[in-house]
């Protein structure tokens, strides 16, 4: 009878991972509540899109921002990538969600580069000064992948999600 808990745990981890809960949501908009009656698809082919359909609008929005991480990765790999960001000029808005409130940002793209990032609105429970340095980081790094601010993890994540979403529009535009 005392058999196989290690094996059981391994299959549990595999099943959860394959259900694809937040795999491609680095900004972790998955912090919005999960609908109990609408479980995640369990097929191995489940993609974040499948998850988004069962989730709150904010999540779905951020799931559409998933192209951002891959692009950010390649951009970050080459410091000289600032001219190859591929963003279309314009002004874009994005919203990021966390369990401790949301953040809205406006991202301005000029000559294919992120020129300016502004936090336009916040419902965070924490002061915005915690993440005041992050807009500048986005401009410097040309990616949504800013540092997490210690003791402001949720604020940082919400901010990142907002920028990811705005940059996704900048790519799709």
């Amino acid at each position: 009878m005392h058999r196989g808990l290690a094996a059981l745990s391994a299959s549990a981890v595999a099943a959860i991972y394959l259900a694809g809960y937040v795999r491609t949501e680095p900004a972790d908009a998955g912090l919005s509540p999960v609908a109990t009656e609408t479980p995640v698809a369990t097929t191995p082919a489940a993609t974040p899109t499948g998850v988004a359909s069962t989730a709150a609008p904010a999540r779905a929005a951020s799931a559409t921002a998933t192209p951002a991480p891959a692009r950010a990765a390649s951009a970050a790999a080459t410091p000289a990538s600032q001219t190859t960001s591929g963003y279309k000029d314009g002004t874009y808005t994005g919203q990021g969600t966390s369990r401790r409130g949301d953040v809205w940002v406006q991202v301005q793209v000029m000559a294919g580069r992120i020129a300016n990032v502004t936090i336009t609105r916040s419902t965070l429970q924490y002061p915005l000064r915690d993440i005041a340095g992050l807009p500048q980081q986005v401009v410097q790094r040309q990616t949504a992948q800013v540092d997490l601010v210690s003791r402001a993890t949720y604020s940082s994540m919400a901010f990142r999600g907002a920028v990811s979403q705005a940059l996704a529009s900048a790519t799709a535009a």
């Binding site: 290690a6 391994a10 099943a15 795999r23 109990t36 790999a77």
Partner: protein
Amino acid sequence: MTRLVHAFATISMDTMVNVQVISDQPRAQVEQAVQRGFAWFDTVEQICTRFDPTSEVMRLIGSAGRPVRVSTLLLEAATFALSLAEQTDGAFDPTVGARLEQMGFDTNYKTGQRVHSATTVDRVSYRDVLIDRRAGTILLRQPLVLDLNAVVKGLAIDLAVRELHEYANLCFEAGGDIYVRGRNAGGEAWHIGIQHPRVEGLIARSLRLADEAVCTSGDYERRAPGVDGESHIIDARTRRPVTDLASVTVVAPTAMAADGLSTAAMVLGRERGLRFLEDQAVGGVLIAPDGAMVSVNL
């Protein structure tokens, strides 16, 4: 060959999460994968925390008496916890949540808010939780608080390291629960020390590991503010804190197993705990309050 050590940290599940990835890749690239790993921690916590009445696991209470379709994550975590309960004949029991609340383990570390669930505390057991895997449902026969804390930190580590599958050498640690893969920056197997449960800073035993998880359950980490500094590990049958052991360290293929089995062995006590770990074919180091140490499969 030069190797870069990329270190990252965040706070989740009321604990520090530290990651070291040994890789030649630039930091920004590694960070992408690490952030996906960190995101799992928040997801696991959000679904499984008993400190938030709106979490998926806590919302089950309001639906007691009827089956509720749940996420894959909650289904699998609960299934594992119940299997652990069955295989320890209920010594480990994830339905002790309300009792833990009573003992003072009731404060949400993020908000400072205290939780108090409208549940029946004394007559519930894991047999009051019915899982239908085919239907993907959980049914609570009584309103009870399912405490999955013995498995979710390990589970989060296992999910996170999957996001890092392309990295052959890493160490992922959350509040003392550790998963190591490959070798450290010096090209050796990872060196993991087990903290002595009574003497701070003293390493009771050190292990050399690769591709394995290590978790330690101890009576010294979290003490209840309310009831004479009681330990957070309680025997489901006596509803009293465990005293026979000071700490149990388990080495297993997954952090989820190491996490759950170390807690279970702690509750089972020295002799039964040792046999249990032996039967489960995992490594274990059990340390009694007087410092006496026994190990199995290590």
